[in-house]
């Protein structure tokens, strides 16, 4: 795709370091050193120098072993954590000119509630178990300026139907639900405000295979129907193969390879990617 008005999210030099970094912390860590711990100060480089462009309607996969910084990356972009350095631009926020990592918490929350959705690996992170399932979805709708209870309940019913959660259990807390159902409630909540951008962080990990297939199926269907752009984080290449158009491979907090998903899976260049693909069952 051409560079231009087509991009939705642009990330430049995104870096997150825990602890006290020295001047050469970034240059002395990474896949070359097979470590993300600074030998001088012990600072941990969760991710560094991440550049990426997400086009509208595109599904981007991020794959890597645990600790490679892929979850940190989406958490930074969803403002769950604060970045050490770097910038991110959203096409439909201030004409894509404002670095969204630098805006106030209030503006970040507004952006999150109106333009973004996030599905965490653990439903406990994305849902409030003290509220009912309907209430959880209502939270997203209320914050996107919908203060009409009738409409909220209508929308919540439609969302739960499309994610195959029994509507009769709408006013029940998700803590009474099975893991797969919780995950589907979480997805309903994430897409409640029709966000142009959705982050999926290891959504199928911990679900049994048949439920995994259902959840993935549903995500694919929703993506087609609503044309949402997604960043899908997973260590599972079959999830990546099923959902994504383009893939980035991360190791020790850096991107080591990126390209079309098929290309990466069939002709991996980096030795780590080759290892990943060859270990695919």
């Amino acid at each position: 795709m051409e560079e231009g008005k087509d991009w939705l999210l642009k990330v430049e030099g995104l870096t997150k370091i825990y602890g006290n970094p020295s001047e050469d912390t970034v240059s002395r860590t990474g896949p070359l050193f097979n470590s993300n711990i600074c030998p001088k100060t012990g600072a941990v480089v969760a991710c560094a120098d991440i550049n990426l462009t997400l086009h509208s309607g595109e599904v981007l996969g991020i794959v890597g072993e645990s600790g490679s910084g892929k979850s940190t990356l989406v958490k930074l972009l969803y403002f769950d954590q604060e970045s050490t350095s770097g910038a991110a631009y959203l096409n439909d926020y201030e004409d894509g000119e404002q670095d969204v990592l630098k805006i106030s918490n209030q503006q970040k929350r507004h952006l999150k509630n109106h333009k973004m959705g996030m599905v965490y690996q653990n439903p406990r992170d994305g849902l409030n178990f003290r509220f009912s399932s309907g209430g959880n979805i209502a939270e997203k709708l209320l914050m996107a300026d919908n203060y009409h209870v009738g409409q909220i309940r209508e929308k919540a019913t439609a969302l739960l139907t499309s994610t195959e959660v029994p509507v009769a259990r709408m006013d029940e807390s998700p803590k009474n639900f099975s893991g797969g159902m919780q995950q589907r409630v979480q997805i309903s909540k994430a897409i409640a405000n029709n966000p142009p951008l959705l982050f999926l962080d290891e959504v199928t990990t911990g679900l049994d295979v048949s439920v995994q297939a259902k959840v993935l199926d549903m995500i694919r269907r929703l993506q087609k129907d609503m044309g949402i752009s997604m960043i899908v984080v997973s260590h599972d290449l079959s999830v990546i193969r099923m959902l994504t158009d383009r893939t980035m491979v991360m190791k020790n907090g850096r991107i080591v390879e990126q390209g079309l998903t098929d290309q990466i899976l069939q002709d991996p260049q980096h030795s780590y990617t080759q290892l990943l693909v060859s270990s695919l069952l």
């Binding site: 918490n105 929350r109 409030n128 003290r130 309907g134 209502a138 209320l142 914050m143 209870v149």
Partner: protein, 300 residues
């Protein structure tokens, strides 16, 4: 041995020492400047345990002078044990006048009610508040509730209101939004009284002694109950019941059970208001849109 003869009292004027009173007044000024914002304050020891109206007592004693007339109501009642004790305590230590008459009081301390009679610009009402933090029901940590207030992040409060509607069909116990900025707990006053805080002519002060917080609604300030576009806040409905003594319908009525424990009757809750009606000396009642609607309904 030097004998201290200058002070005949064993306590300072109005019980609290002058420095602490000054501190409370400064916190009051801050609270008035930021309507609905909870200001932490010292909450000094009183001869009453915290949680028994000490917050309002601190405020009353900090602002009262010898020329003031003081009134206390406890759930609309001038003569309950708590009201009597607090009134005589303030009368003794602050050497002020006291009254039952709402119209003649300059400082009114109250628990659970706003007087039925409209208050004026010359009056100050002081509320006894048990739980000043409206967000406590949705967020246990004070650090986070303060951040939520600072950033105007009231999502959880709205969800709690939605949940309350789903479970009970009623949202009239919820908090209020003050001056389009802070969500505030209107003390545990009745839904009946909440609209009277909006654009009121009197100064409203709130003291929570146990939680060590002071907040305020200055005169002529916008106070709106949280409500949805299709589900609205409403004041209490007594299903057309009338006061047994006065026949009054448009006032907050309390239900009193007879000896048999089965049958009951209603009576106007505000004792001073009831007395005045019985004396054919009806005072001017509050005027809010809910009362106007109620009067219209009951006259038809």
């Amino acid at each position: 041995m030097i004998e201290l003869k200058k002070f005949r009292r064993q306590y300072n004027y109005a019980f609290i020492d002058e420095d602490t009173k000054k501190e409370i007044r400064r916190k009051l000024l801050k609270a008035i400047c930021i309507p609905g914002y909870q200001v932490p304050y010292s909450s000094p020891e009183m001869p009453v345990s915290r949680g028994w109206g000490t917050g309002a007592l601190h405020i009353s004693l900090a602002i009262i002078g010898k020329g003031d007339t003081y009134k206390v109501i406890d759930q609309g009642d001038d003569a309950s044990v708590n009201a009597c004790n607090i009134r005589s305590f303030v009368e003794k230590t602050a050497e002020c006048k006291t009254t039952f008459d709402t119209g003649k009081a300059s400082v009114i301390q109250t628990r659970h009610r706003v007087p039925e009679e409209e208050l004026t610009e010359d009056q100050i009402i002081v509320f006894q508040v048990p739980d000043p933090e409206p967000l406590r029901q949705v967020e246990p940590y004070t650090k986070i509730t303060r951040q939520m207030h600072a950033e105007g992040d009231y999502a959880k409060m709205w969800v709690a209101l939605y949940e309350s509607y789903v479970q009970t069909g009623d949202i009239s116990k919820g908090p209020v939004l003050v001056n389009d900025r802070y969500i505030m707990s209107p003390s545990p006053i009745q839904a009946w009284d909440i609209p009277n805080l909006n654009n009121s002519r009197c100064l409203n002060l709130f003291g929570a002694g146990r939680e060590k917080r002071i907040y305020a609604v200055p005169p002529y300030t916008k106070v709106e109950p949280l409500e949805f576009e299709d589900v609205k806040f409403n004041i209490n409905d007594f299903n057309g019941a009338a006061c047994k003594r006065s026949g009054e319908k448009v006032a907050f009525l309390e239900e009193i059970f007879n000896e048999d424990g089965k049958t009951s009757y209603h009576m106007v809750n505000d004792t001073n208001y009831l007395d005045k009606i019985m004396d054919n000396n009806r005072p001017k009642q509050w005027n809010n849109k809910y009362l106007v609607k109620k009067r219209k309904e009951l006259n038809n």
